[in-house]
């Protein structure tokens, strides 16, 4: 079951605290809940997420309260891309990051490619925020020839033996290219068998 919670928090400090308590108990009432709280929390996580407003004594309390809410509920504040602030006072004297997506999900890997994109401010004092997966296609993976292969006993014999088995058709230069391509596949297998997967060691 997936929950999407459309959040519009009050400006008033007391109401905000009550609101976050309500969200916490709502989340607690469902086991293994997956989903997100999104949008206007009317609160910031760090002092530099608010600019232009005179630092009130309650500011620190508000920041720690909001962070405590995030920790208590094990929420993931997915990374932000684009503009730093999501709200701008109409005369430009103040700006804050009041809007964000907070994810709740046990399998964190599922969200590892997600980012929140702050859109340009166009029709409101708030900017729209968009959460989406950022997976870039880097094209084919380059082939790495590892120097250490040369000193591994049996390497040269393996290459020689494999090279002799490739049966390719065409002129000399395309034969050579095709054989290199086949050798690449065999070298990958050989590397896996001889050295194993180095990343997992």
């Amino acid at each position: 079951m997936c929950f999407v919670v459309n959040v519009y928090a009050a400006c008033n400090y007391t109401d905000k605290v009550l609101f976050r308590e309500a969200l916490t108990s709502f989340k607690r009432s469902y086991q293994n809940m997956v989903g997100c709280f999104c949008d206007d929390f009317n609160a910031v996580r760090k002092e530099d997420e608010r600019k232009g407003l005179r630092g009130s004594p309650s500011q620190k309390k508000e920041i720690s309260g909001f962070n405590c809410f995030i920790d208590t509920n094990c929420l993931i504040d997915i990374p932000c891309v684009g503009k730093k602030y999501t709200w701008f006072k109409s005369n430009g004297t103040a700006k804050s990051r009041l809007d964000r997506f907070l994810i709740f999900e046990e399998r964190l890997q599922r969200w590892s490619s997600y980012k929140q994109y702050v859109q340009p401010r166009i029709v409101s004092d708030h900017c729209a925020i968009v959460a989406k997966s950022w997976v870039k296609d880097w094209g084919p993976k380059p082939f790495h020839f590892i120097d250490a292969w040369f000193v591994e006993p049996g390497f040269k014999e393996y290459v020689k033996e494999k090279w002799g088995t490739y049966n390719v058709q065409g002129n000399s230069i395309s034969n050579f290219k095709d054989k290199l391509k086949l050798l690449k596949g065999d070298l990958k297998d050989w590397n896996k068998n001889v050295f194993g997967c180095l990343q997992s060691n």
Partner: protein, 77 residues
């Protein structure tokens, strides 16, 4: 103002291929299937709107039924 904002929502939904949209302070009491379908350019859309204080403080949640199956909803106060 809703007219301009409506166009902006349309623009974002189309540009991002959105599957779930949360709006705050819609300032309207007249959300309809027709309005939501037109925002998405699609009629396979579900929505929930709470009308409060004559539209101020009201929120609209919309989703594409291709990705989300509606089960139930609760509203805060």
């Amino acid at each position: 103002m809703w007219g301009t904002k409506e166009n902006y929502v349309k623009h974002i939904v189309a540009k991002e291929g959105a599957k779930f949209v949360c709006l705050q302070e819609t300032k309207t009491t007249s959300i309809s299937d027709h309005k939501c379908f037109s925002l998405w350019g699609d009629n396979n859309i579900g929505w929930v709107h709470n009308e409060r204080d004559n539209g101020a403080g009201s929120m609209l949640s919309m989703w594409h039924k291709e990705k989300f199956n509606y089960d139930s909803h609760v509203m805060g106060n």
